[in-house]
Subunit: 430 residues, 2 copies
C-alpha cells in the first residue's frame, strides 16, 4: 500500500445508500410456504400486531426500496456509514497471506448493527401513529437499539429480555431504562405463557423464543406494535446497508474483484443476510465467493440441526417455517452469547444453507472469546461475543489460505461492540 | 445549513496533525517553582522512574514537537482524528440559540481521550528499551488506555486503581486484564504506603493520590517505568491534538471566527489543557473566548479550594506544587465520578484559574448524570460521568445565551464513553 496508515475506508454522509436492497430480490428460489394451522392464524396475529409497513416490506418486491429521508437522517446520526477497516495488525500477528477487512458496526451509537433496523421500524411506527412498541431481545443489543430508536421517534418501549442474558448483562438493561424503556426478564410473570414456562421450570433461563411469545401476547392484549430485530425479511431489508456499504468500500480499498469470503455470525440472520445478500448476484453469476456463517455450539442449528417445519416461539404465535432447527422445545444452555441462543434459524438463512450457498461452522464459548481476545490484543478492538464467533471463523480461514498459499480478500462483519460483555469475557477467559 | 444531515466534521488520517503544541508555549507566565524539600528529592525520584522523553517533554520548549511516525500510525489506529459533531437534536430540545458542538473522544478504541497520551508514552518507553510500566488510575479510563497501549508496544503493565472505582466499575479492570495487565485496588497490601493507609482506615476508598504513591513506590523498587495519565506537561502536550483537531474542524463547520466558549471537565486537567490551550493565543489576543472547567462537588478544588503549595500523593513522592487544593489529607467521597476525585488540581490548570483565564463550576452527581441522560435521550450519545459534568455546564451556558439573546458557538469536550459507567448511571438515576 502506498500509505500504511490508510487503514479505514470510509464513506461520508452523502454516500450513505439511498435505497435498501430487498433480501428476496436475488434469490433463485421462492421462500417455502409457511404452515399456519392455528386459529387465529399466525398470519392474522401478525396483521394485528405488526405495523403495516413491516408486513409490506416482508413481501418480495420491489427489489430496491427508497429509504425515507427522516430515516436517512437518523442513520447518519447513529453513525452510518460505518467504517471498513483493514486489519493489518491482525494480519501481521497471524502471518496472514489473506487481506482481512472488518466492517465495524461496533461504531454505531448503541454499539450494535441492530440500531439500523430499529431506526427504520420506529420511523414507520411513528408514521402509522403508533405510540408504543414491544419486542424481545436476547443478549440485549436489539433491546438497546430499539429503546434508543423509540426515544428518537417519541414512542414508548417495552422489552422482554432473556432472563439469563439480563442477569449476565445488566448494563444493557440500565441503558434501555435510561432511555425510558420498560425492561422485563423473560419468562416473566406478566404474561400467560411466561407464567406457564416458569411453572414448568422455575429456573427457566429464557431465550429469544420465550421473549417472542411474551412480546406478541402483550401486543395482542394492548395497543403496542410488535417489532422484531431479526429473522424477518423487513429486517434483512434494512440491514442490506451492511453489504451495500461494504461493496462501495471495497472499491475504495482497491478490491475491485470483490471479496473472496464473507464471514458473519448467524442466529436469526439479519446481520448475515444484510451483509451477504447484496453480494449474492456476484456469487450466482459464477464468481467464487464463499459465504460463511459462524454459530454457537450451544445452538448448532446450521451444522447439526434438521431442516424441518418448526415454530419459533413456545406459545405458537409465529407460524411453522421450514428452517434448520434443534426442535421447538430445545432450550439452549445459558452461555454468554445471548444473540446466538435460538433453537431455530430463519427460513431465508436456512434456504441459503439448504441449497449450498452458505457454509456454516460452530464454535464454543472458549474458542470464540479467545478469538475476541486476540482481536483486542492486535487491533485494539473489543467485539461482542457474537461477533467473536465470526472472528474465530476468520482465523481458521486465514490459516487455510496460508496453507494453500492463497491470498484471498476476507471481510468479517463485526456486528457489535463487546464493551458491555466484559463480564462474560471475564467469566470465560480470566 | 445547506444539508441538515451533515452533522459530523471529520478529518481523514492524512489530516491528523503532525506536531503537538506544547502547553507552556503560549502561557504568559512561567509555572511557579515547585517545593521539593525531601531527600531524595521528588525531582530525583522522577529522574529514576520516568522515561527520559517524558522528563524532556515536561520542559517548556520547543513550542511544536514532531509526532514520531510510529505514534501517528497508532493514533490513526485508535481512531484519531475524532469527529466533531454538531448537536442539532440537543439544540432543538433546549430551544438553543447557541450552536453546540461535541468533540467526540468517546470514539477512541478504549472509549476515552486518555488513549492518545498512552500511545505516545508507551512508544517512548519502547524506544528507551523499558519492558514494564506502572501507573495509577482513578475511574479506570487511563488504566484501560495504558493497558492497550502497552500491549501495542510489547510492554508489561501494572495498574493501581482507586479501590472504590474498581468496585464500581469492574468491567474496566476486566478489560485491562484481557490485555494482560495486572490490576490492583489502591490502597493495596503490596506497598508500604498502601498498608499504612489501610491501617489508618481499613475501608479506605482510595483515590488517584493513593494510587500515585503506590505506583511510584513500585517503580522505585523495581525496573518499571512510572507513567501518568494527567497533570504533567508531557500529557498536556500529547493531548494538544484535541484542540488542534477542533480548530481545523471548526473551520470545516464554517465557524471561521472560532468558538465563543470551550467547556471540559477538569481534574488533573489533561483533557481541558489539551483541548483549550491551543486556543490560548486567540484569547490572549483579545478575542472574547470563555474557557470553562466543570468539576465535581465531591472535590471542588477550583471553586472552593485554596491556592497553596500541596503534594499530590500521600507518600510525598511528588513535589509540592502551587495549585488549587482541598488539602493533601482530603479523601473525596466515593462518588461515581472516579476521574474527578483528586484532592488537588494541576499547577497549569491552577495558574490559568488564578489569572482569571479559566472559569470553573462544580456539579454534583445528580446534576451531572441528569445532563448525561438528556444527551443520551437527544443525541443518542452516552458519555462518561466525567464528561457529563461538562455537558451540565453546557446546558447552563445555553440557557444563559438564550436569556441574553446571544448566538454563541459552544464546543464541549466529550472526554469519554459512558458505556462502562452504566451501573453508576443506574445507582444515581434509576
Amino acid at each position: 500500500m502506498s500509505n500504511p496508515t490508510s487503514i479505514d475506508y470510509t464513506l461520508n454522509a452523502q454516500q450513505l445508500p439511498t435505497r435498501w436492497r430487498h433480501p428476496l430480490a436475488d434469490l433463485p428460489w421462492p421462500l417455502p410456504p409457511v404452515r399456519d394451522p392455528n386459529k387465529p392464524s399466525a398470519a392474522e396475529i401478525m396483521r394485528r400486531v405488526r405495523p403495516a409497513a413491516m408486513l409490506r416490506q416482508n413481501q418480495a418486491d420491489p427489489a430496491w426500496v427508497d429509504i425515507p429521508e427522516p430515516v436517512r437522517e437518523r442513520l447518519i446520526q447513529i453513525g452510518r456509514p460505518t467504517p471498513l477497516r483493514r486489519a493489518l495488525r491482525l494480519e501481521r500477528a497471524l502471518g496472514s497471506t489473506a487481506r482481512i477487512y472488518l466492517k465495524r458496526e461496533d461504531q454505531l451509537l448503541s454499539g450494535s448493527f441492530k440500531l439500523s433496523s430499529a431506526v427504520a421500524q420506529a420511523y414507520y411506527c411513528q408514521q402509522e401513529e403508533r405510540t408504543q412498541v414491544v419486542s424481545e431481545t436476547g443478549a440485549g443489543q436489539w433491546g438497546m437499539s430499539l429503546a434508543l430508536a423509540s426515544r428518537m421517534f417519541g414512542l414508548g418501549c417495552q422489552i422482554f429480555m432473556a432472563r439469563c442474558s439480563l442477569q449476565q448483562k445488566p448494563y444493557r438493561s440500565h441503558y434501555m431504562q435510561l432511555l425510558g424503556a420498560q425492561v422485563q426478564p423473560s419468562p416473566s410473570l406478566s404474561t400467560r405463557i411466561g407464567r406457564e414456562l416458569l411453572k414448568e421450570r422455575p429456573d427457566h433461563p429464557g431465550s429469544i423464543g420465550s421473549a417472542i411469545s411474551e412480546s406478541i401476547e402483550t401486543a395482542l392484549g394492548g395497543s403496542a406494535a410488535y417489532l422484531s430485530g431479526s429473522n424477518a425479511n423487513h429486517v434483512h431489508l434494512h440491514q442490506s446497508l451492511l453489504g451495500l456499504e461494504t461493496q462501495a468500500q471495497l472499491q475504495l480499498a482497491g478490491e475491485s474483484d470483490g471479496p473472496d469470503e464473507l464471514i458473519a455470525c448467524v442466529s436469526g440472520g439479519s446481520n448475515l443476510c444484510g451483509f451477504m445478500l447484496p453480494f449474492l448476484r456476484h456469487k450466482l453469476s459464477g464468481r467464487p465467493l464463499r459465504m460463511l456463517g459462524a454459530e454457537s455450539t450451544a445452538a448448532p442449528r446450521l451444522t447439526q440441526g434438521v431442516y424441518e417445519y418448526c415454530g419459533s416461539d413456545p406459545a405458537g404465535y409465529t407460524p411453522q417455517v421450514l428452517a434448520y432447527s434443534m426442535g421447538r422445545s430445545f432450550v439452549p444452555e445459558p452461555v454468554h452469547v445471548g444473540g446466538l441462543r435460538q433453537h431455530n434459524s430463519s427460513p431465508l438463512v436456512s434456504l441459503l444453507r439448504h441449497h449450498g450457498l452458505l457454509d456454516a461452522v460452530a464454535y464454543d464459548e472458549q474458542e470464540a472469546f479467545a478469538a475476541g481476545r486476540l482481536l483486542l490484543q492486535t487491533e485494539g478492538l473489543l467485539v461482542a461475543p457474537e461477533s467473536a464467533h465470526a472472528v474465530a471463523a476468520a482465523l481458521a480461514s486465514v490459516q487455510t489460505a496460508r496453507e494453500q498459499q492463497r491470498q484471498p480478500c476476507i471481510v468479517v462483519l463485526v456486528s457489535g461492540s463487546g464493551m458491555l460483555d466484559l463480564d462474560s469475557y471475564k467469566q470465560v477467559l480470566l
